[in-house]
């Protein structure tokens, strides 16, 4: 039987008049798309290998290269699309699970694009953030319902001993990405940028490289089901500890770092032998119930003398509401919820694209339920999963998140073009790879600057939007859904989001 080729996704167009055969593309492409023929002094290409990362296009000194989507592959068909045919073909050949990287790219409704923000007119003056103070600081951690004071000879003194909090200069943090899934230079960029921005980044489940301990005050260290790199110094190295139960891109399943990526440094950081696969089981095998989670939370608190907030990260799934409530009652200081558009270094495509719920619903429903139960003020809520702009972020905060985690946006700031091939380890931008030839392409100093620029730009935009609403502290927007209106949504969706329709006054 004739074997049908897997369709070529991209076509490399090379302008022969412009190409000077300098071979930068040949040397740089980790996918070996470009081929130099010394006899003819001509560069040609193998389109089938192109992942569409645009790295060659960026480097070409004469602008000779354009990457185009291959339009000619199959007859257009809404049901049997090129990617479906291609996946079936691959599976018919290999009998394997289709892997992918980054977040779900299916056209499910992005609710952020159906929510509009408010602004003041006449009855309430808008505030100019360039002239008036505008506060973005938030504190993440467990809080009591009320303050206790001591009164002594007319002087009021604080009696409440507040549990440890994470002080965020802006309510944005870098979400969990492990050393292993991303390069050390990428980790270092995130760590140093967090330090300089007064926010936090998250180690993911890959342990903490020895060179990054100095950024501990701005680090959330993660404990996942594989327990890689977990030891007493690691627990104490960060500002907070996060138990990772699930991830938005792949709820219900574990993780797998192939042995080829487990270099000497990763082996040391993760505390596993060099070259062995690092497998994170689907569940934590010491957490089969909510009471088990409570024991782990308190074991970690005991191990760190109650000096670190302990949070729990879960994927947004159908039952996220009671699960989050249980986590709050189990003693977590914060709950991080990762929506279905959250990214990943590697996940089975069928899981990424079909499991979980959007973060918008999860945040709205969890915030509402915790309030109904009277425990919302006690625990902090962090939203994650595909935030693209300050607009998405401010809407998430108004829906009820105390802060957000971003990761994909941070990687895009560092060069990522969403080619979704992180799992191959061939990232041309030096982000999702351990190949020293590739990782050195990401200069951490420049990385830090770009991440800082992004957060600074978003902060300015958030201040503008807050001022427009007549608010001068992010505290007054958190959970304040009266500033949101839905557009193009069903009544049921509006109800779950807890917002009115555009056109309805307050």
């Amino acid at each position: 039987m004739a074997k049908r080729p897997i369709p070529t996704e991209f076509i490399v167009e090379r302008d022969k008049d412009k190409c000077i055969a300098c071979q930068v593309c040949v040397r740089m492409c980790s996918n070996d798309v470009h081929i130099y023929d010394a006899d003819t002094n001509i560069v040609t290409n193998d389109n089938s290998k192109c992942v569409g990362c645009h790295f060659c296009e960026t480097l070409c000194p004469t602008d000779a290269i354009t990457i185009k989507k291959n339009e000619s592959s199959f007859k257009p068909n809404a049901n049997w699309s090129a990617s479906v045919i291609s996946d079936i073909t691959k599976q018919a050949e290999t009998g394997g699970v289709i892997l992918t990287g980054m977040g779900c790219d299916k056209p499910y409704t992005i609710y952020w694009d159906h929510i509009l923000l408010n602004a003041s007119q006449v009855t309430n003056p808008s505030i100019d953030p360039l002239r008036e103070p505008m506060e973005l600081r938030r504190y993440i951690g467990r809080k009591p319902d009320k303050i206790e004071l001591n009164y002594n000879k007319g002087k009021i003194k604080l009696k409440t001993k507040l549990e440890k909090q994470l002080k965020l200069a802006v309510p944005i943090m870098f979400s969990a990405m492990s050393y292993g899934s991303i390069s050390l230079n990428t980790c270092a960029s995130l760590a140093k940028a967090s330090h300089e921005l007064g926010i936090f980044y998250n180690t993911g489940e890959g342990g903490l490289h020895k060179s990054l301990y100095k950024y501990g005050k701005n680090t959330i260290i993660q404990i996942a089901s594989g327990r890689f790199g977990v030891h007493p110094d690691y627990l104490k190295a960060g500002a907070a500890i996060e138990i990772k139960i699930g991830q938005g891109a792949k709820p219900g399943i574990g993780g797998h770092l192939p042995g080829e990526k487990v270099s000497e440094e990763i082996s040391e950081t993760r505390m596993i032998p060099e070259g062995t696969d690092a497998i994170s089981p689907a569940p934590h095998h010491d957490i089969y119930s909510i009471e088990d989670l409570r024991q782990l939370i308190y074991a970690l608190k005991e191990a760190t003398d109650y000096e670190k907030p302990v949070g729990v990260k879960i994927a947004a799934v159908h039952n996220v509401v009671p699960i989050a409530s249980g986590i709050a009652r189990a003693g977590a200081d914060y709950i991080a919820i990762d929506g279905m558009r959250g990214g990943t270094g590697a996940a089975p495509k069928v899981i990424r694209d079909n499991v979980g719920i959007p973060i918008e619903f999860a945040i709205a429903a969890v915030d509402a339920r915790l309030r109904e139960e009277g425990i919302r003020t006690n625990v902090s809520l962090i939203a994650a999963g595909g935030f693209r702009s300050s607009g998405d972020i401010i809407k998430a905060i108004a829906l009820g998140a105390d802060a957000v985690y971003v990761a994909t946006s941070a990687l895009i700031a560092l060069g990522c073009s969403q080619c979704q091939k992180c799992y191959t380890g061939k990232c041309n931008w030096g982000i999702a790879t351990q190949d020293p030839y590739l990782t050195k392409r990401l200069n951490p100093e420049i990385g830090v600057q770009r991440l800082k620029n992004l957060i600074r730009a978003w902060s300015l935009e958030i201040k503008d939007m807050l001022g427009g609403m007549g608010i001068n502290s992010i505290d007054s927007l958190c959970g304040n859904r009266t500033h949101l209106r839905g557009i193009g949504l069903l009544d049921r969706e509006l109800e779950i989001l807890g917002i009115k329709s555009a056109g309805e006054p307050q």
Partner: protein, 365 residues
């Protein structure tokens, strides 16, 4: 006529307050003149007054001022009140005939005390908690009935009209009080619900408010966490409930409450050299971040012991004050004070977030 649209009323306003710190009482004449001076700040769609010290003979009983749309609402509310309270006296609130005052509800006043069996049933609650629950229940669940005020030895008189007309309508010149607070309203829509006029009251609290609260959405949800039901379609009620929660339930002094709802900026807190004070202010903001009131406001609030004027964090609404002997005056405009106070002292312009406080002398409350 009940406001039946599920939307918030927005309004601009004038406010005025007079307090005699020695507890000396005066008639409502002065406060009516004071608020009347600021006529162009209201548009005839709401005016009202609160008065403290007006019912000395019933000072141990809760004085419920009620508005009813009709006899049925009145019967329902009275039946509800009678199951929980001993009604010592019930009477119609006396008014004059004034053709310009339209859509008049039935106005009724009750002096009531909690029945022992109710107190015993709710042994985990204070009397005040029970009264608050009942006020919320009547306002939300009994259609056409509205509790205007529910404190002791005080009352709120309000309605649709210019404040001076409302004051005369209620014959306030016949009442004697040591605190008078007034409000003239400029709502930006014309829904004529009498209950929507200021002051708003709960227990001994009454508050008048000029401004709009942009943090309303979260203040409301925060208060719901503690059992308050925001049903009056106005952002002002969250101020009232925040004070009730923080002062009565959390036991915090007024100046601390001001540091919560009108919190100092983080940069001011960070700059504070006093370690204890800095930690206190920081902890207040962390615990009570959802109780911060944002947006332009000036308010005058009282519980019968204190009358306080307060502005928002960037002072986006006017409020001036003057202390003459043992009398404290506050108002939106200087003219309202000059009208009734002959002192030639300078008017005091408070800063943003700076509370102006009149305090009843010790032993008088």
């Amino acid at each position: 006529m009940r406001h039946n649209r599920q939307e918030k009323l927005i309004s601009g306003c004038s406010v005025a307050g007079i307090m005699n710190e020695s507890g000396r009482k005066t008639s409502g004449e002065a406060i009516i003149r004071s608020i009347a001076v600021m006529k162009e700040r209201s548009n005839g769609l709401g005016g009202g007054f609160s008065a403290y010290g007006i019912y000395p003979e019933f000072k141990d009983y809760f004085a419920f001022h009620m508005m009813y749309d009709n006899k049925k609402a009145m019967a329902d509310a009275e039946e509800y009140l009678k199951t929980n309270y001993r009604v010592v006296k019930s009477e119609e609130i006396s008014t004059i005939e004034d053709k310009s005052i339209k859509n008049r509800p039935l106005l009724w006043r009750y002096f009531i005390g909690l029945k022992d069996k109710v107190k015993n049933l709710h042994y985990d609650l204070t009397e005040e908690d029970i009264v608050v629950n009942d006020v919320m229940k009547i306002n939300v669940e009994i259609e056409g009935a509205f509790v205007t005020s529910s404190g002791k030895n005080m009352g709120i008189f309000k309605g649709i009209g210019y404040p001076e007309d409302i004051g005369r309508y209620y014959k306030l010149e016949e009442y004697e009080a040591y605190i008078w607070i007034a409000h003239g309203r400029f709502p930006t829509n014309s829904v004529g619900w009498w209950g929507g006029a200021h002051p708003f009251g709960l227990l001994n609290w009454s508050v008048v408010h000029n401004g709009e609260i942009s943090s309303y959405g979260i203040n409301k949800r925060y208060l719901e966490n503690f059992g308050y039901r925001c049903s009056l379609f106005t952002d002002t009620e969250v101020i009232l409930y925040l004070f009730d929660l923080l002062v009565r339930k959390h036991g915090l002094p007024f100046d601390i409450v001001c540091k919560i709802i009108d919190a100092p900026l983080w940069e001011e807190i960070d700059r504070n050299d006093d370690n204890d004070e800095r930690e206190l202010l920081k902890t207040l903001r962390i615990i009570y971040s959802s109780a911060l009131i944002n947006g332009p406001f000036s308010i005058i609030i009282s519980d019968g012991n204190i009358m306080m004027g307060l502005n928002d964090r960037v002072k986006l609404r006017p409020l001036v004050s003057l202390k003459d002997g043992d009398t404290v005056y506050m108002a939106t405009e200087e003219s309202a004070i000059r009208e009734i106070c002959k002192s030639d002292k300078e008017i005091y312009y408070s800063k943003s977030s700076e509370p102006i406080v009149g305090r009843l002398k010790e032993g008088l409350s």
